[in-house]
Amino acid sequence: MSFYGLVDGTETSLKKYLGSLSGVDQVGADARAAMLATRSIKTTSKRWAIDTAISMVDLTTLEGADTPGKVKALCTKAVRPDPTDATVPSVGAVCVYNDMVEIARTHLDLIGGQHVGVAAVSTAFPSGRASMAVKIQDTKDAINAGASEIDMVIDRGAFLSGRYIEVFDEIVKIREVCATKAHLKVIFETGELVTYDNVRKASFLAMAAGADFIKTSTGKVSPAATAPVVLVMLEAVRDFYTMTKVRIGVKPAGGIRNTKDAIKQLVLVNETAGPEWLKPSLFRIGASALLNDLLMQRMKIDDGYYASPQYVTID
């Protein structure tokens, strides 16, 4: 494999590649993210942002208590988020555990949701603590069941102890399993990587290894998709594009619960990576509660008043 000509697959070349990255100044990154959070998005641009955000949602349920019934309900919501308004776009995908993939895919197809993807969390999500054989099988199972997107976690233990080549090889192997059948999203769990330098390093590592998307978090660790972390990842995909002319997607997940947060994410995309990234094929938001807040804000713009939460469906 060529890895965009950036690394040749050896540890030496990977170390050289990662060593060439500039550092991230935490204070500066925090300040830039805070400044962009002051953007005031109103009226027509707010309406546009809400619909765009809806189409980018990876509607997620990742609970031990998930059942076929719960997943089917989620799929119905994903296809038609607002049953009273057909102009509301479908979400980008539903995101579920491995064993729920087939149920989700079948149900989506049944209700006319062929255009909505099914993302499966993989590689011993959320901890990533399993053997490579298990991780590969986990991914194969999901793809065989009809997953069109694989959200894999990296081995943070390996990353934090400097065994970057192990993390790289893992991504390469899962990339091979996905082949052309599924999009690969690589989850860093930035709350465990902690520093922005690590986030930048992980971003470049995953992109060279073949990720289609880089994703902040599992949603099981806090902090998750903070604005500065997403900023650093957006800078990484922008710079990677300069190097390779390939656009890698970004998926913040965890902690984005309301419309304001989602619009702040879109502003970050717009002013960092650029408007080219403002589409579901290059930006997704992993969320569950967010969708209903987007719907309520949308209704507010159209109707001029806030409706009771009873006017949006709980799932």
Partner: protein, 483 residues
């Protein structure tokens, strides 16, 4: 077919209705607004709309103001305990916070700076200066400036148009805390927030004559500088005027502090965090349209990263939102005056004719008002005028260096020495460079950070004395050596 994507931000204007601007203003003398005789217009530089008529103070007005200040000093302010003075300063600070939106809107209308900056920087920092100095008022004996520090008496203060309210706060707060009374003159083009501040003084029931505000142009400034009834002069403005003031006060007993021009070097080493450095460059030169005496107007860039940084910088500059200063999403507002716009244009033309390469961010500039697109010149050398003279606008000169010593030599090769920036992830290099640079304020991995507790001021032709912190306080006290 790829859909063309764009995320247009709808206009998000702050409400102009928050302020009431009178058609005509007088001076604030002895606690009262008094009518002026001659007037001149003050305009909104973003629209050229006349906002109000400002009085041009003549000798009689300045005499009256100095007299009121002297009376207040002798009868009230010098007799009052520091604790009581502090109460007034705290009260002023709180009222400024309460009326912060009003101040921000008025500042933006009169000055042309973006509402985001007046709202998030100018006004909160101005209030912070009053809070900070309020705390000093009853602790002067413990400031390490001698056991019985004493006020000068009447301070004459002349401030610039780039940060009208903030510069007022830098001047008035320490003067009052130290026990002086003041006669202050705001800049000709930006008097409105100072006049609103006069209302705040009334609201705070500050004793009459402690703060006097006379408006006018350079002739009014000269009357203050040369007034025999004034004990101390504090000036912020151009080096040219600073020299005139220095000459004027030299044969007198007046004490003086000058905060003048700058041509700050912003040095980026190859081991810097590049994206944050680019932000620092943008903040350094495009903050407040570059109307900042400590602006990082000379980018001194290590040659090995020059192409990468310049490409990223151009990319970033293309995202700067230029336009209506009242829009909450505007990053770069209007140039403060036609005169300043001409000066920026003249120096930029010199850059072209001396062989530097100009690049301006693509942006639509409004038809009315005074505007200048964010601009960089590459291929600049030490000998270019745009590397030596203060442009005081959104124009950056880019120079390169090969070794750290060369960066320092270039940075120090200027008659100015107000500020400098250093960008490197190597702590030892930052400390070394900061010891070599001859500038009053040195920022490491940041730029344009201000705090009332931090002394600010220049080396060489950038000025005398410091403002802010204990050092700034000492300038308003007698018999204290000025470090």
């Amino acid at each position: 077919m790829e859909e063309k994507l764009s995320f247009e931000y709808a206009p998000a204007p702050e409400s102009r209705a928050l302020v009431t601007i009178k058609p005509k203003y007088g001076h604030f003398i002895g606690g009262k607004f008094v009518a002026g005789s001659k007037h001149f217009p003050t305009i909104n530089p973003a629209t050229e709309e006349v906002l109000s008529q400002i009085s041009l103070a003549a000798k009689a007005d300045v005499d009256a103001a100095v007299k009121a200040a002297r009376k207040a000093y002798t009868t009230t302010w010098s007799k009052m305990s520091g604790k009581e003075r502090g109460k007034y300063l705290f009260r002023i600070a709180r009222i400024m916070q309460e009326r912060s939106r009003e101040f921000a809107v008025l500042e933006t209308l009169d000055n042309g700076k973006p509402i985001r900056e007046s709202r998030d920087v100018d006004v909160p920092l101005a209030a912070a200066h009053f809070f900070y100095h309020a705390g000093w008022a009853d602790k002067l004996e413990y400031a390490g400036l001698g056991t019985t520090p004493k006020a000068h008496g009447v301070a004459g203060q002349i401030i610039p148009w780039n940060f009208p309210l903030l510069m007022l706060a830098w001047k008035v707060a320490p003067a009052l805390a130290a026990g002086n009374t003041v006669v202050l003159k705001p800049a000709e083009t930006t008097s409105l927030t100072a006049l609103l501040f006069a209302e705040v003084c009334q609201q705070a029931e500050l004793p009459a004559g402690v703060v006097n505000i006379v408006t006018g142009d350079g002739s009014t400034g000269a009357l203050i500088v040369n007034h025999p009834g004034i004990d101390k002069i504090a000036f912020t403005g151009s080096t040219e005027v600073g020299k005139i003031i220095a000459r004027a006060v030299a044969p007198t007993k007046k004490s003086v502090t000058l905060e003048l021009g700058g041509k700050a070097a912003n040095i980026i080493f190859d081991d810097a965090a590049i994206d944050e450095s680019v932000e620092g460059i943008v903040n350094g030169i495009f903050f407040n349209q570059g109307h900042v005496c400590c602006a990082g107007s000379r980018l001194i860039l290590q040659e090995s990263i020059a192409d990468e940084v310049i490409e990223k910088l151009k990319n970033r500059m293309a995202k700067i939102r230029v336009g209506d200063p009242m829009d909450k999403n505007t990053d770069l507002g209007a140039i403060n005056s036609k005169e300043q716009l001409l000066k920026i244009g003249e120096l930029s033309a010199a850059g072209d004719s001396e062989g530097a390469q100009r690049w301006s961010a693509p942006c639509d500039l409004p038809g009315k008002g005074f505007w200048f697109a964010p601009t960089i010149f590459t291929g600049v050398t030490q000998a270019h005028r745009i590397a030596r003279e203060e442009i005081f606008g959104p124009v950056l000169s880019v120079l390169t260096f090969r070794t750290p010593q060369e960066a320092i030599d270039k940075a120090n090769n200027t008659p100015f020495g107000l500020s400098a920036g250093i960008w490197s992830e190597k702590g030892a290099k930052v400390l070394w460079a900061s010891q070599q640079l001859r500038a009053g304020v040195i920022w490491a991995n940041t730029f344009n950070k201000f705090d009332p507790a931090s002394p600010f001021g220049g080396y060489k032709e950038s000025g005398w004395g410091r403002e802010g912190g204990r050092h700034g306080l000492s300038a308003y006290l007698k018999g204290v050596s000025h470090e």
